[in-house]
């Protein structure tokens, strides 16, 4: 054996050279490996940056080649020839001699300048001595003479310099004669080459870009869990080098350009970083760790897919509409309309009106058996109702019905009209009214589901009326249609100003919409006090008062958990009930198995998906659950889950958040209000809504007009107030009606401020009626009004006969009482900017007037004249109001 042989050698004689060599060799190799691992293997970004540089260079180079080929070859040739000629002229004797002479003169000038400077310095020094001598009285005259001598020197050198400069100027005129030709030609050549040169410059810069870590440091971004200021460091751009390069729009990751440059314009990654929105581990530089998915302890891994929009909520939690984040806006809409805040406390949703109707006077409206069936399963009567299913047993539903009927009997609601007033309408005419005046904006009845489809939610915003004939009491319905606020003072259902006859027709039509299914008769004991008491308990327990006003339950709190930090909940804190476990690497979070069981991934996302899919999914024989089943679609679940992801207390410090100033608050209040009253069902507002337009696809102009963001700048505050109080007809050709919402002055003021806020205007009190017109613009205005044929679409006063409604534009006689004078000017200047898609043509395209006879074709003057004239039409009409408007 090796070791036994070795043991025989005396210790002093043993050689360890071999071991030393082996181990130090291993140490060397190990160290070399560690260095390689450190500088190369663990820094894949070096490779990425090299690869990116090549990719970008290749793209820029090919663009440069294209630019070179696209030059005007003939002109290029001519210019190059001329340039060569001009350059060869530089060899001529006249030029070379002049340059030579100039160089000699410049040398002389240098000498003369120096002497002049020195003379000045000597003079200053002598002057100092002279001044000093004045104090002592010694050598005064002598020194004075010296100063004078130096001053004479200064003079003579200065003359010399002037002389030389004159000579140089003479030579320059010769020299520049030659040189100017060259410079001019070179400039022209550069002009032709500019495109190619720009690419060349970019190419140079791309190739010179250093291989380096690119990081953004946010020193005071957020707080640690211990409330200390924590910096955030993002190095994402080290690998994602092409995020801002439009040439990389189709490049493979990690070089691809960011898909939303307009969003980045507001959140510049160069000083905002990437992780504030995308999450992930900013300082890490390898894929798995940077995205935070390979690091199981990293609490905020990258947000993928729609989840990334959750980050908007960190800074914009107060806003419900974000222009550049449609999924975020949709999620907030879902949250608001589904009423999550009725049971859960959610930051920013503490002061929202109840989404359901009050349940205090139900006997006037429905029969107990209908109510019983509804409580048991609302989706059975109306699959698209917002009311979720509580899965009550028959006994529970009966108890709740008993309680509601009891408080209904005690209600003092009375129908104003005698019973039977509703009778006598024609259902056919009712159907026509129902389908034209705008009821379908909110209510679905029968087969017409265009609005629902356009809305794209699984629920309707107002009850579907397909079976209403079997639900509602016609006397109540008549009363309701005539004045919805009589039954429910807080309702969002507006009055459509139906005449008694119209209302009778609509009632007749609605009563034909019956539930034709065969329903099992129910036998309810509604007067049993024990049942009523049990109903009381159940209603409190399940938090019905979160959505509905119920007498005796005005002060009920929220029945479920606070969601304000739900996004930080860990999987360990969640109970998955009896669901099967889906492996973590499964592609889906939730899966319904053929045997009827459900598999859920054991993650936060999996749990939330299952909960929103079926709120009772995790219920077991011991753990009962109260959350009702909503029936959200896959898309809605993902959006709501995205929103829940954002529910954390980890938010950036205020400096990074958008200031929720007065204007923002006013805008947000207006949004909430317009959503509450479903204004967006008809009108397109801030790029959302306008669902009723689905019924007017053939001719959108016959649908409700959109409300552009400039609405506040457009209409007079007084007019808007009056209009919202009592809508008047602006577009007589429309059959769809602007309903009367019976808004309070405070609510109207909120809407005013909302519109004004969107237009970045303040609410000021103005008397539009006393706007003075400049008479010298009136006549030219009139002339232009005819020249530009405004009346081919617009009219003043009565609707011209024989015109298709689709070709009509608003009555200009209303302009002075409705529009703001500044807006008319802006509108005439560029209508499509204020209202994209408008049919109003742009007359002054590019600031030029088509008609050159008035004001010498000065567009601004013409616009002023037109606006003045249009304003004057209404002013005259106001003095003698046109009838029929």
């Amino acid at each position: 054996m090796l070791f036994e042989d070795r043991a025989k050698i005396p210790v002093e004689k043993r050689s360890y050279a071999k071991y030393y060599l082996i181990f130090s060799g291993l140490l060397f190799l190990g160290t070399a490996w560690a260095v390689w691992d450190e500088v190369r293997i663990r820094r894949p970004w070096k490779e990425y940056q090299t690869e990116y540089r090549e990719l970008l260079s290749a793209r820029l180079d090919s663009l440069r080649q294209v630019a070179l080929e696209n030059r005007d070859q003939e002109r290029l040739k001519a210019l190059e020839d001329e340039l060569a000629k001009a350059k060869s002229a530089l060899q001529s004797e006249e030029y070379t001699k002049a340059v030579e002479q100039k160089n000699d003169l410049l040398a002389d000038l240098d000498i003369a300048t120096r002497e002049w400077r020195f003379a000045r310095s000597r003079s200053d020094a002598a002057y100092y001595q002279y001044k000093k001598s004045l104090q002592t009285g010694i050598n005064v005259e002598e020194l004075k003479a010296e100063v004078a001598k130096h001053d004479a020197d200064i003079e003579s050198y200065f003359h010399r310099m002037e002389e030389i400069n004159k000579q140089i100027a003479l030579l320059d005129s010769v020299i520049y004669k030659y040189r100017d030709a060259v410079v001019r030609l070179e400039a022209e050549l550069a002009q032709i080459n500019s495109a190619a040169n720009a690419y060349g410059l970019k190419l140079e810069r791309a190739q010179a870009a250093p291989i380096a870590i690119r990081q953004v440091i946010l020193n005071d971004f957020e707080l640690t869990p211990f409330s200390e200021i924590k910096a955030r460091i993002d190095r994402c751009q080290t690998c994602h080098v092409g995020w801002s390069e439009p040439l990389m729009a189709d490049a493979p990751q990690p070089f691809k350009q960011h898909p939303l440059p307009e969003l980045l314009a507001k959140h510049n990654p160069e000083n905002f970083g990437c992780t504030p929105c995308h999450r992930g581990q900013g300082p890490a530089l390898t894929t798995g760790f940077a995205h935070g998915e390979a690091d199981k302890y990293w609490e905020t891994p990258i947000l993928r897919g729609v989840d990334v929009w959750a980050s908007c909520n960190s800074c914009h939690s107060n806003e419900s509409v974000l222009k550049h984040a449609p999924p975020f806006t949709k999620a907030k809409q879902l949250l608001l309309e589904s009423g999550c805040f009725a049971c859960h406390e959610i930051k920013g949703y503490t002061d929202v009106p109840k989404i359901g109707p009050p349940l205090n006077s139900l006997p006037a409206k429905v029969r107990p058996d209908w109510l019983f069936r509804w409580v048991k399963n609302p989706k059975d009567y109306n699959p698209h109702t917002r009311m979720p299913r509580f899965q009550f047993t028959d006994e529970e539903a009966e108890a709740i019905t008993a309680y509601l009927m009891k408080i209904g009997r005690e209600s003092n609601f009375q129908l104003v009209r005698a019973r039977g007033t509703f009778a006598g309408g024609s259902s056919n005419r009712g159907k026509v009214i129902f389908e034209t005046i705008g009821c379908t904006a909110c209510h679905v009845a029968g087969e017409n589901t265009a609005v629902r489809t356009k809305r794209g939610t699984t629920y309707d915003i107002a009850p579907e009326l397909t079976r209403v004939g079997s639900k509602a009491n016609p006397d109540w319905l008549f009363d309701w249609l005539k004045n919805p606020r009589h039954y429910n003072p807080d309702t969002r259902m507006p009055s459509l100003r139906l005449t008694d006859d119209e209302a009778r027709h609509v009632v007749a039509y609605l009563m034909t919409l019956r539930d034709n299914r065969k329903l099992d008769p129910v036998n309810l004991a509604l007067d049993d006090p024990a049942k009523i008491a049990r109903g009381d308990r159940l209603i409190r327990e399940y938090g019905c008062a979160g959505c509905h006003a119920i007498k005796g339950m005005e002060n009920e709190g929220k029945v479920s958990v606070n969601l304000s930090d739900f996004g930080r909940k860990k999987y360990e804190q969640m109970d998955f009930g009896d669901t099967r476990e889906l492996p973590l690497n499964a592609e889906v979070d939730y899966q319904e198995n053929p045997d009827g069981t459900v598999s859920v991934k054991r993650t936060w996302a999996g749990w939330v998906y299952g909960k929103l899919k079926n709120s009772r999914l995790y219920q077991t024989d011991r753990i009962s659950q109260k959350m009702p089943v909503f029936g959200f679609s896959d898309e809605e679940i993902r959006l709501l889950r995205m929103f829940l992801t954002s529910m954390t207390r980890d938010v950036p410090l205020p400096t990074y958040q958008r200031a929720f100033d007065r204007r923002q608050q006013e805008i947000e209040a207006g949004r909430r209000l317009t959503m509450h009253y479903n204004c967006v069902q008809c009108h397109t507002l801030e790029d959302r809504g306008g669902y009723l337009l689905a019924s007017f696809e053939a001719e959108p102009a016959l649908g409700p007009p959109p409300l552009p963001e400039s609405q506040g700048a457009k209409v007079q505050e007084q007019w808007l107030h009056g209009f919202l109080k009592n809508p008047t007809i602006i577009r007589p050709w429309l059959e769809v009606r602007m309903p009367t919402f019976q808004l309070t002055d405070a609510e109207i003021s909120q809407i005013q401020k909302y519109f004004l806020g969107l237009s970045k205007q303040e609410l000021v009190i103005r008397d539009y009626a006393s706007t003075t017109l400049d008479p010298q613009y009136l006549a030219p205005g009139r002339k232009l009004f005819d020249a530009y044929q405004c009346l081919s679409c617009h009219f003043t006063g009565r609707i011209p006969e024989g015109k298709s409604f689709a070709d009509l534009a608003p009555n200009l006689a209303l302009a002075s009482s409705r529009l703001k004078p500044e807006w008319i000017v802006d509108w005439l200047r560029d209508p499509s900017k204020l209202q994209p898609g408008t049919r109003m043509p742009t007359y002054f395209y590019g600031g030029e007037a088509p008609d050159r006879t008035v004001f010498g074709g000065n567009a601004e003057e013409q616009i002023k004249a037109l606006a003045t004239y249009v304003w004057s039409i209404g002013s005259r009409a106001r003095q003698a109001p046109a009838s029929g408007q």
């Binding site: 005396p10 210790v11 002093e12 360890y16 071991y19 030393y20 181990f23 130090s24 291993l26 140490l27 190990g30 160290t31 490996w33 560690a34 691992d37 640690t224 869990p225 211990f226 302890y297 990293w298 609490e299 930080r568 860990k570 999987y571 360990e572 109970d575």
Partner: protein
């Protein structure tokens, strides 16, 4: 088993896996050498009478060993990164929350005793006991060579105290204590929702003596019973002295040394007995023992 391998190969657990392997190896090495020495007249080490200078003959070997260890550590550092866990958050603490690995034995003791005993008394006794060893060890044999025969008590006590009580408790705490400090067998997954049976009763209750009276004060009978058990256990020391007082070894040791050794030894054994009382009944479907002696100040 998949989970167990994951736990075993976690970067911060690898040293403990190595500790286990090296403990077994060195114990085995000791036994082989000690057995050989014990079977011959003169220990192998004594035969090596040839001596050389430390410098350079020892130092050069140590130098090479240093290089070898450095090479190993460098390669190790390439493969295994220092494990960092989530940022500290007082609202969300990790589960299980484990002490540094070398303290896991102490943390494990908290399962069997109240914090005052497991966290203060026993660690103090461990340190005091270790300091006392040179003063109570009167056996001059075994210096510089491997032997078992000549130092049976010392060797067995060490093996028991270090290998069983210290190392295996660390191993238990590292590999088998999961969320909620619940015990998991290697083939079980660490389930954060695991529900353990909690049916511990005090020893006196086996004999129908409730520990507390209806007004929640301690039952004097149970108190006396518990005290009797504990003092009875420690009485083994004096009784053994009385029986063996004439033995040569006892004479040499003297009463004071004997008292110290027997107290420390019995305390060590008491720890094990308590663990057995807690764990063994589970195998027979009996309620495990919670405390032997409950007092208003501490529980044993």
């Amino acid at each position: 088993m998949q989970h167990f391998i994951e736990i075993l190969t976690k970067p911060d657990n690898i040293p403990i896996t190595l500790l286990l392997v090296s403990c077994i190896f060195f114990t085995w090495l000791y036994w082989v050498k000690a057995k050989k020495n014990d079977s011959q007249e003169m220990p192998d080490e004594a035969k090596m009478d040839d001596k050389v200078q430390v410098w350079p003959y020892l130092v050069r070997v140590e130098f090479i060993a240093t290089i070898a260890v450095m090479a190993l550590l460098v390669v190790w550092s390439v493969f295994l990164d220092a494990p960092l866990e989530e940022p500290a958050n007082r609202a969300l603490t990790p589960n299980p929350s484990k002490a540094p690995w070398y303290f896991l034995g102490l943390q494990e003791m908290l399962v069997y005793f109240d914090p005052w005993i497991a966290g203060v008394v026993l660690p103090t006794l461990i340190i005091v006991g270790l300091m006392a060893i040179p003063y109570v060890d009167i056996n001059p044999k075994g210096n510089g060579y491997y032997t078992y025969k000549e130092r049976k008590f010392a060797v067995l006590t060490f093996c028991f105290g270090f290998l069983i009580l210290w190392v295996s408790l660390i191993v238990l705490g590292t590999f088998m204590r999961g969320p909620g400090w619940n015990f998991f067998f290697p083939w079980e997954k660490w389930d954060p929702h695991y529900v353990a049976v909690l049916t511990n009763v005090d020893l006196s209750e086996y004999f129908g003596i409730p520990t507390r009276l209806p007004d929640n004060t301690i039952n004097p009978v149970a108190f006396v019973f518990g005290a009797a058990c504990v003092f009875g256990f420690y009485a083994i020391g004096p009784i053994y002295w009385y029986l063996k007082r004439n033995d040569e070894i006892m004479q040499k040791l003297g009463l004071l040394r004997y008292a110290i050794v027997s107290f420390l030894f019995l305390t060590m054994m008491g720890l094990v007995i308590k663990i057995i009382l807690r764990l063994a009944p589970l195998m027979f479907g009996i309620n495990p023992v919670k405390y032997v002696w409950v007092t208003p100040w501490f529980n044993i």
